[in-house]
Assembly symmetry: C2
Homo-oligomer: 192 residues x 2
């Protein structure tokens, strides 16, 4: 997605060979015009897939998913990383490992919001090692729902997440695919 | 806002005299159509106020704030409750007390995203004791920016938050004002 790649180049900061900072428009400040375009693009890509629900994870997944769910005319559900005031025990949960923190944590979705037979579009802001995506997939499958696909705003293609998801048979659609963050610059995967 | 009050009555669950559960459309599953209408209403209320930025707090504040910021054509910033991967020390922070947990925690916004002179619309999903709202106000004022107003989706009018904010001189606009949750039912404040 050209407009997104342009934002990454002009407004992103390469913090290291492994980390791209996009707090200016995605992870802390949100450019709602850009996120609306991102959401519309996801909806366009998946419009023929009979999506019944969009599933993401708090917090950075919410804004990019909002317009996607809106355009697909389905509810948006966000997995919780921590128990909220009104969440009960009636949940589907999965364990997610953090390579950075080297700890495991639990994410959960209330059983009320995933029905067997739902066709779920999983969306998230970043795809790196894929742990969050795999955790969401596990939750969808515990609910006996179908993962229609995984949509990602920014994929770090030099990390194993995408390949592992593809090898497990899932459809992955990333709006920007970063091949490298070396030498302080963003290089995108060549589009075919 | 009639459509919101109707959703609260039809889809909300009164968990106790003090807690209203609206996970079905606001706090876990998000009804994007309803949240878009909520955001448009905030934008309509504050359209003459020279708003330069919308400030909310992760996670439930993001969806109701998205369309408000979009219609006002300003960026949306969400305060963090925990340090993110790309957040540095260059932040405005404030302490927020939780009556339920009886603990204090810190919320923060990067200094990059609040400029002195910004006219900030603070938005959040619930107003109860007002601790989160006060924490956001403190952050705006540390940045030497102006709090143009506080917009709330659901106010629990039987709790002291609103009155304390009004007494401190802030403008509070709540789209639904809950007078009582007694006897398992929602009663709204009488509109004048
Ligand atoms: N900006 C940025 N973020 C990255 C990058 N790579 C991974 N992340 C994000 O870092 C966060 C922490 O990941 P960890 O669970 O510690 O995962 P990891 O060490 O196994 O990669 C996740 O944020 P999250 O769950 O989305 O958190 P939140 O923003 O929703 O709070 C993930 O999306 C990157 O290059 N740039
Ligand atoms: N559903 C619901 N929530 C209520 C109600 N009253 C307060 N809350 C929410 O409860 C959460 C916890 O509040 P605490 O910080 O423990 O505050 P308190 O005990 O002083 O009220 C806050 O969620 P938050 O910060 O918005 O969390 P998140 O949803 O963004 O994760 C607040 O908005 C209510 O009647 N119903």
């Amino acid at each position: 997605m050209e407009r997104l790649k342009q934002a990454i180049v002009e407004r992103g900061i390469v913090l290291s060979e492994h980390v791209l900072k996009v707090d200016t428009f995605l992870n802390h400040q949100i450019d709602t015009g850009l996120m609306a375009a991102v959401g519309e693009e996801f909806a366009r890509i998946f419009q023929q897939d009979g999506i019944t629900k969009v599933l993401t994870i708090e917090s950075s997944g919410i804004a990019p998913s909002f317009m996607a769910a809106s355009k697909l005319e389905v509810p948006l559900v966000f997995a919780r990383k921590r128990k909220s005031l009104t969440m009960d025990e009636h949940v589907y949960a999965s364990r997610v490992y953090s390579f950075t923190k080297r700890t495991e944590s639990e994410i959960a979705v209330s059983k009320d919001f995933l029905a067997s037979g739902d066709r779920v579009l999983i969306l998230d802001d970043f795809l790196a090692n894929g742990q969050a995506a795999k955790g969401l997939i596990e939750i969808v499958e515990k609910a006996e729902a179908v993962v229609a696909g995984v949509g990602i705003v920014i994929e770090k293609s030099f990390q194993p997440g995408r390949e592992q998801l593809i090898n497990s048979g899932y459809r992955v659609e990333s709006l920007a695919r970063v091949a490298s963050l070396e030498n302080g610059r963003v290089t995108f995967v060549e589009s075919e």
